[in-house]
Amino acid sequence: MATKSGNATALTVLSPIKNGNLGETSFADITRERCLRLPIHEESPLAKVPNTYLARLFILDNVFYESLPANDSVFNFSDITSIFSDSARKKALPRKDTLKSKYLVFSSNFHGDLDTYLTGVWEKWSYIDHEGTQRDVRHIWEHCVAFDRVTDASSFIAYIKRCQLDASLFFNGSTDDSLQEQLKSLYLKQEFTKFAVEHQGKSASEIQQDFKAFIARVQPENLEGPTWQAGKSTP
């Protein structure tokens, strides 16, 4: 299974949400609202989890039913039987299936190995929700089946791994570098563009002089900073 592509990992997690409700709201709907209300861009908890390339959370309500596709060249046998009986046509269609519970789906493409990444999720995932309360990762998974047994990083990792699906076709839309390196590259590219524009037409010696100061300021080797902030979308 292609869960890895170079140094990138594709993680897909389906955690069953408890059936039932709190008052008149189902656990699935409570969880959905918590997902929808997560802050975005640099405020997103995922921006704080190291090495997240791209991640998403959603609620899987049910599986989709797919009937037989229309067929132009070779007709479906059931289409002929339907001339005589609609029940004969329906019997020939795929069986309809239903999930026993709703699922919280977390999918993430990240740099590095799974244990390190999940430790980061456990430790760094934090945000202030729309009511002003400080939250950690447990708030999203709170109503998932058996999540109450998660007490620390290692039990969180074990829980997520039990919910993990293998990726079958993983296309890594990012480079193979760590997020820190990518953010630094983005920062350098932008700063260098500004430098080039600002120094148009200046003498070689002046450009050289200023370039030294530029390098001292942007510190190309220093991944910690100055750099582009994870999750930030505009300058």
Binding site: T193, A196, V197, Q200, G201, T234, P235
Partner: protein
Amino acid sequence: MTTNLDLTDIQGNIIKAYGAYNFQKARYLFLRINNGDKGRQFVDAITAKVTTAIPWGKSENGDVAVEKPRVTTNIAFTYSGLEALELPTASLREFPDDFMMGMSKRKDILGDDGPSDPENWDKIWKEKVHIWISINAPDMDALIERYNWVAQQVEASDGGVTLLTGHRGGDDEENLPYQDASVLYDESGNPTPKEHFGYTDGIGDPVFEGQTNVAARVLGRGKLMRDGSWAPLATGEFLLGHVDEAMEYPKTAPSPMLLSRNGTYMVYRKLHENVAAFNRFLDEQSKSFSGSKEMLAAKFAGRWRDNGAPIVNAPDDASKDEWDKAFEAADFAGKKRMLTDFTYNNDLHGAKCPYSAHLRRINPRGSLEYGVKEAYETPGALVNRRRILRRGLPYGAVKDAARDDGNHGIIFMALNADIQRQFEFVQQQWINYANDFKEGNDKEILLGNHDTKHPSKAVLQVEPGSGKPPHFINNIPRLVETRGGDYFFIPSITALKLIAAGMVDPT
């Protein structure tokens, strides 16, 4: 077999740029319908005078066709206008979302922000605009005569329609009942093809199947074929009810077929030009530019200001002189050809015509293949479905070239079968963004919605290996601002008659 258009059924403004027929003046009116019945009667009255696309003067076989009229009149409707005319719901619901929403609600797509925000548009755009009527004429007398006639029809509608006021004018008017437009004149009073920044405008509209005299006009204006030849674009890119470049009927056509066939959509935009900012910016940037100021101005647009020479074939001051000599020596057809028949095949890096130049952004011709051999089935694969017919004239006068305010710019109209796929795509992806041009988020230099908070730049490339540095232009100010507009449906003559008679029947 090529399509023969029903030129008597198509409104004339779709096929003809009236300015090219010496109609130097235009007046645009916007009306509200207050009563369905009376509104339809009004449409009926106007329809009798609507100008069709039939050729004027002698036809190709020498027959005298229709005489050139003294004045033209055309009409179009917003979605809420068609609602007010009580079209059946079954027809209304089949119009596309973009048209139903109208232009102001599409501001995020169009980049109409800051000074271009609908909040800052002419007051008329706060009104319920239902009908657009255009009058084009060679002189003001003919124009005013027809305007007075329209005003009489408004009067005769007995409150059924209202001529809306709220256009900004050149003498601090805020409430004019019309938008005037006119070609600009030179010092001796001769008409010019210029707009307020000094560029030559309106060269090279797309040519599509069914138009007359296609073979002579298609060079550089149709679609670029693999063998380097040009073919007319499919009719359905510009007229509903005809097959388009995907060999399909446009999906934007509501039923019945008679309502949509031979009609199209029009984007009307009043675009203010910040002349002082433009002149200041050009002066300032040309100080550090290695070529002349005129060459830099040509880099912004893709054409030289004086005669419209495409910069890809006249990339610097010296080659411009050569081009001018050849242009001078060429006959009429040769001149036309020099202005339109070119590609960017020999300018893969944008060293001649920058990727952020107006011309290259709105019609990249075959250049989105980036020199990759047969990257697509045809060199124009990414371009042929993004073409628009451009209509319009400058408006207002620059009274003080040192100021940006005042009332002067271009009344711009884009005609296409699918506003979202054609006009909006060009505006959003090619003018205000540059991923397709490998230029990040650099905006088109002249029309881009530049803002001071995130200063814009553009790169004027040089030939790789030439040893010269590229030239950056930076801190580009907002040169063009939107002052109003909306999306309109231009029905065929048949559809106008059906609408007027209340006979649109989608069943």
